[in-house]
Symmetry: C2
Subunit: 327 residues, 2 copies
């Protein structure tokens, strides 16, 4: 099992990708890591670590795609970036999957362009883990397709079900369509058409509203990428905002230091459902390969879990199951 | 100042509307209340209270529109509902504003149909208060218009600015367009067209993302009603979900009763920014009158604040200012 890791992706490269990958390596004796990025940077960073050098390779990719760079021009013009080279190695069968905390747009564009689409898939999608009272559930689409058509929604639902079942361990995942009301006739014309097609998919529980997300009235929340992306980023901002709200409430209170300590301990535990580090990135579903993208701020732990997620996708043959489900 | 109050609206009528209205009455000696709803129900409820009967009238409206009823057919078929009669009284100049915690869709349809639109307004909109780290800010549209056009977004922005400034006390309110990224060229074709038109409006700060809501990077969040409604209902669900998360964290901890007590006190204070009771309902902006709708579960306090909000809208001549701004 060889996983290529983008050593030049995210806000904290090469440190976090290298550290996370070496942690994954030490926990899985079947794993090999292929670092992709500027060779000197990787070599320097590796000097800070001890590891089994027989299971680590470096592939030089001197160009770096910035986090805010325009995806289309980055993919077109930077042929020697870690993203392009890493995905090309995957396409050529030199590795089994690719993991990056780099520019999401560039990763989506390059994954679709280089790996191609799975048979039966109109458009690949980015799914995202979403915190709920039942643990993480799946939001699809999280920003790859800002407008969606009924057949795309059906494919997202079926791909999401396979991912939920085999990677997230949710048996018989329920599908809900995010909408402004529960009744079948709610929403725009396109939402109503999507609803009508989703009704044919097993596990569809109908429209769900914003208030149904936290109670996880469905396991898979289907939306277009506009709604999904705004919700994803809003959700990510909740813990920090709440800690600030709690912080100013504490300041106004007359609590003693040990009481404040115990509040912080409880809240840290309470907000742990929001901890994205544990879940290992967002999968691109529908591409002919395994490509996992992480948050730009991914920690070493997040990178390690992204690699584990890639390994699970490969071992469970997620893509084979998707093709079987769609065709 | 006469405010008509829907005594048959919301999940807790007639109790909460009557109690809230009488509280408002006792706090404002210039106020008169006109209760609209089934006469016997109102008369019975009023027996539980002492109040200045010279300032209270009842208008019989025997039909009740259910909270889940289809708005179009309810407005068409129930001509003797509190909503239809209350808004008709307002249109006829028998009162200065109408306040209801009833069926939002029916209220929007009836407000637009009966009161008509202000000059220069393409489509009236529901704005919603939204909790942020700086206090409540304004989300427009919160579900009235699931698809919006550039000129509508511009009108929403200008109406929102007037509301923010004169009712919410925010000087020079900043306008942001909810989008998937900050750059001008982000989003769908329609989002890009909206962005281009909003650029001409003073106070526009550009695209904002989901993560920019809590820090209140703008004071007015412009979106279509699909995004707005999902965000609104999701936001409303946050305090309850968090209290559950905190509750299970407390159960897992070994805290003593007094420590748990102090945590609950701090959290109650910390989550107070989410307390919609304080803000008094959602204004319909763009209708030729003052129509305020509250959450179905509105408490008496929420109803009282809705009435105060209606009074503020009238005293500040919000509608006159909107017409001046748009024409």
């Amino acid at each position: 099992m060889i996983i290529a890791v983008d050593a030049a992706g995210g806000d904290y490269f090469p440190k976090n990708p290298v550290e996370g990958a070496l942690d994954a390596l030490s926990e899985d004796s079947n794993l090999q890591i292929l670092f992709v990025g500027p060779q000197d940077i990787i070599t320097n960073e590796l000097k800070n670590h001890s590891y089994d050098s027989d299971r680590v390779q470096i592939v030089d990719a001197p160009e770096i795609i910035g986090m805010e760079e325009s995806p289309a021009s980055a993919v077109k013009n930077k042929r020697n970036s870690s993203i392009t080279i890493g995905l090309s190695l995957h396409k050529a069968g030199k590795c089994d999957g690719f993991v990056s905390a780099g520019n999401t747009g560039a990763l989506l564009a390059a994954s679709t362009f280089i790996l191609g689409k799975l048979q039966g898939v109109s458009r690949p999608t980015i799914a995202s883990y979403y915190p709920t009272l039942k643990g993480f559930r799946l939001l699809v689409d999280a920003g790859a397709n800002l407008e969606i058509k009924p057949e795309m929604a059906v494919q997202f639902a079926k791909m999401g079900q396979i991912f939920c079942k085999h990677i997230m361990g949710i048996e018989q995942p329920k599908i809900g369509l995010l909408n402004v009301g529960e009744e079948d006739e709610k929403g725009t014309e396109i939402t109503k058409s999507i609803h009508a097609e989703l009704k044919k998919v097993e596990g569809f529980v109908g429209n769900i509203e914003g208030r149904d997300i936290f109670p996880a009235k469905a396991d898979i929340f289907i939306s277009d990428g506009m709604v999904g992306n705004i919700l994803l980023k809003f959700g990510e901002s909740i813990p920090d905002a709440l800690m600030k709200m709690v912080g100013s409430a504490i300041q106004k209170s007359d609590l003693e230091a040990n009481q404040i300590q115990s509040i912080q301990t409880v809240l840290k535990s309470a907000f742990s459902p929001f901890n994205y580090e544990r879940v290992g990135g967002l999968p691109f579903l529908g591409v002919n390969g395994v490509s996992i993208v992480g948050h730009g701020g991914s920690s070493a732990l997040a990178i390690k879990n992204m690699i584990k997620s890639a390994v699970s996708c490969i071992e469970s043959d997620i893509n084979g199951k998707i093709v079987a489900s769609l065709n």
